[in-house]
Symmetry: C2
Subunit: 409 residues, 2 copies
């Protein structure tokens, strides 16, 4: 314990639910969040769902004094919603946009338009290199019949792979965000197993906040009560995860969540509760990265489970691709038939005009519209098939590597 | 020189031009490529434009003996076209899809549908960790008025950032591919300056092949002669780049290009010439990675130049977004007007039916079609604006870091 000094790092993570025109009392809440951040003086702030760049700019101006460094990640139609505020200089950034993120035609579930991504921020604090990741995965709209599970699993896999490949020169890895997965879900197990990241809630020496560390709770006045019915205590989907890579140890001294409105305030910061962790980072003689080797068998099971789910998604996507392709071909045939009929009439082959003009035109437009839409959807599902297939392949390669490891060493 | 043994690595890189139904004599050429690879027994083969998974599978079967390890990168509608064959085991892979890649409505330039990406393959050869990257950037269709320059620059920047962030644990970095940039272009200078990668052609101790290392030459029977008119000698757009990161040195002993059809064959392998490099890798006492620090000022100039071009693209994208948005609003207004007129007629407000039914319907369909298309394009250009803006930001951060470096250290 003595000798090397300890670095104490206070981290704040929140899904801000700041959707322009849609989120309730957005501007008021963004102001409250800014006040809280200024008051508490965290070292590092990881925010999600800051969809409006104006909100980010307002926060940036307000927080310039205590968080002189910040970054907003841009992607997709609406944005990634991800941003970082920091007391320490940001040396470098990188954005990785997930290859799958729902469907553009599911307008009521706007995820596709958000360009869901993982943002990486590299920092050096007291000589220690931190790779800080912030992300927000695809939402779960129906737990019993979760059509987006394969997409979320692809995202969890890409997140894990991105972290593994980019963090090799880092001393400490931190990940904060709304992962939209319950703690025991296969995606979380995959992410933790494949990266060796540890869950601040599970590791914390002290905890204070909502029961079981839940971050989506029925008591919050902004949550959808009907969605929370199966979970009377709430659910935990917002996480702070960490690991030390080189000769450092990280311990979570304290984890807190907000519990609805802060004292003296009328409303909560968001429909999610914030997660706040206090980490202790210390240099140690021996590397602490032996998490992976010991649990290879369990990890292989998780990867297999995830791969099965991705396979289910792959077959569904293949069916969709096939049926939209067939629809496009049928629409094209109908159009060609109509064109032939029209040409026939023009050439005077038919004695009289066989159809009323209006219905003929309407039918032509309808087939054209179906052709365009079905072709677009066929193309979209082709991309989906490619990405699911690619992920299945990568997971297979990972499994092979896991199985070969004992015989090699 | 003595002491540590030298690793000799032979690398083959080729844009295969294997587009199903479109490329001339595709199957014959893929067979020839397979023969050549089997005959020559390279250590590492980096291929682009292998669009058909069937072609990849055929090659894989054919090359199973001499290249037991391979990987095909899947992305986009058609695929990434990227694949790797190797004599040595592939330990891990990662795909990064570029955020910008042309326009879906430029059907004659099919780049958007290809999901242009950079693929990473991690290998360990004789105890040396290799990060091997293979990529294919957006094509240049008109050099004088290159509408895709901002997109290609974003890709070059993302490629450089991806390499920097993922290669920190590697001993040697290799990049092969069709970069679609001439050696003196700003994108190449940006990539080389920002990553420290060296050009095998420029560094080679021996060279054999097309003059100036050109890989797109008028003598090749598959190249478009009219496009080559301004470049009678051809152009060099296919590269093998490399650098040693830790205490290794890499030297290019020999670089070769093919020169049209190989002896005894009637046709060339592709419309591009293949690039073949023989590298020498040796362990050394001192790290050889001092390329960056020495040329900071020149690098800042390159980043500034690239950022200016990205800015030009950003303003063009903003104009496009605005005008498609305006078009969508106008179409919506027209539709509403028609709806009002139709309702008025139904309610018996107008004495008689004021317009012929057919024209009325046609107009409604036309406005609807314009509304849908214009909204789609508005959304697309919004994404484009986000990504160009994000890259401009990242480049600004890089410039700041470059300017601050001398004062720090």
């Amino acid at each position: 314990m003595e000798g090397e000094p300890t670095l104490r790092l206070r981290i704040f993570d929140l899904n801000c639910w700041a959707i322009r025109y849609l989120s309730k009392r957005r501007q008021e809440r963004v102001r409250l969040i800014g006040d809280k951040l200024r008051q508490e003086g965290f070292d590092l702030v990881l925010l999600q769902e800051v969809w409006s760049e104006q909100d980010y700019s307002d926060l940036k101006v307000k927080l310039a004094g205590c968080y002189p460094f910040s970054h907003y990640f841009r992607s997709g139609v609406i944005g990634s919603g991800l941003c970082v505020f920091s007391r320490f200089p940001i040396l470098d950034t990188l954005l990785y946009q997930y290859s799958l993120n729902g469907y553009p035609y599911m307008l009521q579930h706007g995820d596709w338009f958000c360009g869901k991504s993982v943002g990486l921020v590299v920092m050096k604090i007291s000589g220690i290199i931190f790779n800080v990741y912030v992300t927000h995965l695809h939402a779960e709209y129906c737990r019993d019949k979760d059509a987006y599970l394969p997409h979320r699993l692809v995202q969890a896999w890409e997140l894990a792979q991105f972290i593994r490949h980019t963090s090799k020169a880092a001393d400490v890895v931190l990940l904060g965000g709304d992962l939209n997965m319950h703690p025991e879900d296969v995606g979380i197990r995959l992410l933790r197993g494949w990266t060796g990241l540890r869950d601040a809630f599970a590791e914390a020496m002290r905890f204070e906040g909502c029961k079981n560390g839940c971050t989506l709770v029925p008591d919050n006045c902004f949550t959808d009560k009907s969605e929370m019915l199966p979970f009377p205590l709430g659910i935990r989907i917002d996480y702070i995860l960490y690991k030390a890579i080189s000769s450092f140890t990280v311990k979570c001294e304290e984890l807190k969540t907000t519990t609805g409105p802060a004292p003296g305030m009328a409303i909560p910061f968001s429909d999610h509760e914030a997660v706040m962790a206090t980490l202790h980072i210390q240099r140690q003689g021996q590397p602490a990265g032996a998490t992976l080797g010991t649990a290879d068998l369990a990890l292989a099971d998780v990867v297999t489970e995830a791969r099965t789910e991705v396979g289910v998604g792959l077959r569904a996507a293949q069916r969709q691709r096939y049926s939209w392709g067939r629809m496009a071909v049928l629409a094209l045939l109908l159009l060609l038939l109509q064109a032939a009929a029209a040409l026939g009439t023009l050439a005077g082959l038919g004695a009289e005009q066989p159809f009323p003009k209006l219905s003929f035109c309407l039918l032509a437009f309808l087939s054209l519209a179906i052709l365009v839409v079905a072709t677009g959807l066929h193309i979209f599902h082709t991309m989906e098939v490619k990405m699911l297939h690619g992920t299945e392949d990568q997971m297979w390669m990972a499994l092979r590597a896991l199985q070969e490891r004992p015989s090699e060493g």
